[in-house]
């Protein structure tokens, strides 16, 4: 038994047939073929699968695909224009804020939403905001620095 769902995925309409039990994360990866969203724990702790639903970060492993029907989703593939880097991605690269990179898409989607809400955060606030995403490689400090750098550039971009 499957249901037909339609979602706006990174600004484009995507329709697909899913079983009611299909996780949103599996739908994104295997249905829509967007494998930039990574699956780390499937119990809502590691944050690797974080995507944005109507602009808000959610764990795609804790949602069913059918719950996203008729709504808009943004994944890491929708963060930057083709061939380019979003300012947060560029900051990650410059500050060496990723090593294996597996957790990175989840961090990026969490941080993008965070900086929209808090454009000028303090270091402690950044660390709190990052605490919903696990990284086993970097020890986080470079990620905190990348967020500071990205925030500064995004503010400057808005001011310009």
């Amino acid at each position: 038994m499957t249901s037909r769902i339609a979602v706006e995925l990174n600004g484009r309409l995507y329709e697909g047939d899913v079983e009611p039990r299909t996780l949103l994360s599996d739908f994104i990866r295997h249905g829509a073929g967007l494998t930039g969203t990574h699956v780390g724990c499937e119990h809502g702790v590691c944050g690797a699968c974080t995507v944005q639903l109507e602009g808000e970060p959610v764990r795609s492993c804790l949602m069913l695909a059918v719950q996203a029907d008729g709504r808009s989703l943004r994944t890491v593939e929708g963060l930057a224009p083709a061939g380019g880097l979003h300012p947060i991605q560029a900051a990650f690269q410059e500050r060496h804020a990723l090593q294996c990179g597996f957790c990175t898409p989840g961090f990026l989607l969490s941080i993008e939403a965070f900086l929209r809400e808090r454009p000028d955060p303090g270091a402690a606030e950044i660390r709190e905001a990052l605490a919903g995403n696990l990284c086993r490689c970097t020890g986080y400090r470079a990620i905190v620095e990348a967020v500071e750098l990205a925030a500064e550039r995004l503010r400057a971009g808005r001011g310009a």
């Binding site: 990574h38 702790v45 590691c46 597996f102 990284c135 086993r136 020890g139 400090r141």
Partner: protein, 666 residues
């Protein structure tokens, strides 16, 4: 069931898959107890694979797996490596449940202990840990029937060891097997040996004539991927009254689990070999008893035996300092292997190639601000607060064996490098391009680095033991120097020669003995009296990894390893219940540190160059995970000294410390 292709058990794989090889230990006895691909008759731990369900989708496979009925007659669990010898046998042919045994004595140990003014003894328990890469394990296997070539793509640390391990398990010639390791989401030692699941998937792909994919979930990773650490130890130090260490004696009881993975025996042997640490100890006797227990096997996890060695010897040195009434800093200075002693052969028989341990310690003490923290500790104690300072020296065995590199310099000046070494987050692409660019004087952007395909790349040993730059990087240097010699012979530059000859190709293999990175970490902690909560106030990390090629990436390794080391101190512990069931099998029960829990960490490098390779490099991947637990453990013991606590084993969780505080009447 529609959509289900097959259900295979151990009986179905009879004659098609053998247990994985067991590995070996120099001068040690290793039992013939390799991990079977699927269990036959007896399962030896909760989490051991018993059957494989092949279906069109994961959901269907999971539905079908629920219909597989396994009848278990419970056997007596064997959980404690100290008492496993008297427990029922896990393997009928392995007497005393001893999977690995090893012992070495060097110097007059008995004499040292009888001469000693003071003997310090302590027992230790280092819990098992879970490596927990955020990407769990997975593999795809496809068998081309006509050519009889089996291709396995797997999340592994390198293609070479899976190639050898799968070749042995499936009895398949290396030229009928291809292993591809694409981008890998972290490993930390846990993907150096292929899981038996990979062998099962590969065997099933051949058997069924279907391409198969296996991706484990997090619960499977906790239950079935080999774990790290798991060591009990009894250690004694013999000391003269002036603080000179005369001798060391130790028995190590390693909790190895139900079987031996190819790398299981490595960690306890490494612990034994490094047990004299940074100190010139003239006599030592160390015995390793690697016990079979009814738990998932252990294997390398970041540090792989070295954190255990650092924890044991560094705790012993602090206990000795306390018993002799000496400053821990001073006791260390009196016993360090001095800089002029290199190459220095330890009593256990490894030869440290280079180092300057006192300089590392001085750098770390300066970095942390020792005088300031000592004053702060006195102030805190006067107020009844529990603040402690701890030092963790470390030695990291790195490098060894060999690696290879191929390079092709195109007529237009682009350089294609193929390395046998392969990354899973370390940044080989950057580092190796930088090494090549520096050697040839070209732009790093003109260098392309490829790796990870057993068919397309040069042979290699693998990415482990922090050996990539020292071995793989050196192989690349050797190859490129040969290019430069060719050009010099022709009286032109390499770029000119490449342009005139339509490109140049070169390959090289580089081998050397072990190199030894080292360092000094200093931790300052406070234990909250009311709650037992441990706060790390400051951590200074000083690593001597020889020449640092890329400071940004090197610091990334230090910070990442240090935070893993902190996790081991603060929260991480794989807990099994009295029946041997893992009770910490998800990220809620086995927590990793988050960004919100970071203490201030400062990192510096001391560079004493290794004489064993052209880069002068040692290793950078593991120091933080090795030294941090030792430094924090010493700081915790220092903090709790005023209330009469002598020793605490990690992890230093709030409930554990709270109970200690209550017992001490604090």
């Amino acid at each position: 069931m529609p959509g289900v292709a097959a259900v295979l058990t151990g009986a179905d794989l009879e004659g098609r898959a053998r247990p994985l090889p067991t590995g070996s230990v120099e001068d040690g006895v290793v039992a013939d107890a390799g991990h079977p691909v699927l269990a036959r008759g007896k399962v030896r731990y909760a989490g051991e694979p018993v059957a494989i369900v092949v279906a069109r989708s994961r959901a269907l496979a999971e539905d079908a797996a629920e219909l597989v009925e396994v009848e278990y007659d419970p056997l007596e669990p064997v959980l404690d490596p100290r008492t496993a010898g008297g427990a029922p046998l896990l393997h009928d042919h392995v007497p005393g449940n001893v999977l690995v045994s090893w012992a070495r004595t060097s110097g007059d140990v008995e004499g040292a202990f009888s001469r000693a003014d003071r003997v310090v003894a302590q027992s230790f328990h280092i819990p098992r840990l879970v490596a927990a890469p955020i990407e769990a394990r997975g593999a795809i296997a496809r068998h081309e029937v006509r050519e009889d070539v089996l291709t396995v793509w797997c999340s592994a640390q390198d293609p070479h060891r899976p190639l050898a391990q799968l070749g042995a398990a499936l009895d398949r010639d290396p030229d009928r097997l291809r292993v591809v390791v694409p981008d890998v989401g972290g490993a930390f030692g846990s993907k150096g040996a292929v899981g038996v699941e990979v062998a099962a998937v590969a065997a099933a792909a051949v058997e069924l004539g279907l391409p198969l994919r296996w991706t484990e979930d997090r619960a499977e990773n906790f239950l079935s991927a080999y774990q790290g650490r798991g060591l009990d130890a009894d250690v004694e130090l013999a000391l003269a009254v002036d603080g000179r260490i005369l001798g060391l004696r130790a028995v190590l009881y390693a909790d190895l689990g139900g079987y031996l993975y190819p790398t299981t025996a490595v960690a306890p042997h490494t612990t034994a070999m490094l047990l004299t640490g940074a100190y010139a100890i003239p006599a030592a006797a160390v015995q390793v008893i690697g016990a079979a227990t009814t738990k998932v096997p252990t294997g390398p996890y970041r540090g792989a035996g070295r954190p255990e060695a650092a924890f044991l010897v560094e705790r012993m040195v602090d206990l000795a300092a306390r018993d002799l009434g000496l400053e821990p800093v001073e006791l260390r200075r009196r016993n360090f292997v001095p800089p002029e002693a290199f190459p220095y052969e330890t009593p256990m028989g490894w030869t440290y190639d280079s180092g300057d341990f006192e300089r590392c310690l001085d750098t770390a003490l300066e970095l942390v601000g020792l005088d300031r923290w000592r004053a702060e500790r006195e102030r805190a104690r006067a107020e009844g607060r529990l603040v402690g300072i701890g030092i963790g020296m470390y030695i990291e065995r790195a490098g060894g064996l060999w690696e290879s590199a191929e390079a092709r310099l195109e007529p237009d000046g682009r350089l294609l490098v193929r390395t046998g070494s392969s990354p899973h987050g370390q940044g080989h692409e950057t580092t190796f391009a930088q090494i090549a660019a520096e050697e040839l004087g070209i732009d790093p952007a003109a260098v392309e680095v490829r790796w990870g395909d057993s068919l397309a790349g040069p042979a290699g040993v693998g990415t482990f033991a922090s050996r990539s730059v020292a071995m793989g990087g050196s192989a690349l240097v050797v190859a490129l120097r040969e290019l430069k010699e060719r050009a010099a012979g022709a009286g032109v530059g390499v770029l000119e020669l490449a342009a005139s000859e339509g490109g140049l190709e070169v390959s090289a293999r580089f081998g050397s003995g072990l190199v030894f990175a080292s360092g000094a970490y200093v931790a300052v902690v406070e234990v909250r009296r009311a709650t037992g909560r441990l706060e790390v106030l400051h951590l200074a990390a000083v690593d001597d990894s020889g020449r640092i090629v890329n400071p940004l990436l090197a610091e990334g390794q230090v910070l990442g390893a240090t935070v893993q080391g902190l996790g081991q101190c603060l929260v991480e512990e794989a807990v099994h219940d009295e029946e041997g069931q893992l009770t910490t099998a998800n990220f809620a029960d086995y927590s990793l540190l988050t960004a919100a829990e970071l203490p201030p960490i400062e990192s510096r490098f001391v560079e004493t160059l290794s004489p064993l390779n052209p880069l002068g490099a040692k290793g950078i991947g593991e120091g933080g995970a090795i030294a941090t637990p030792a430094a924090v453990a010493n700081a915790v013991a220092d903090a709790l000294a005023p209330i009469g606590v002598r020793h605490v084993d990690p992890p230093f969780t709030e409930p554990k410390l709270w109970r200690l505080l209550r017992e001490a009447g604090a």
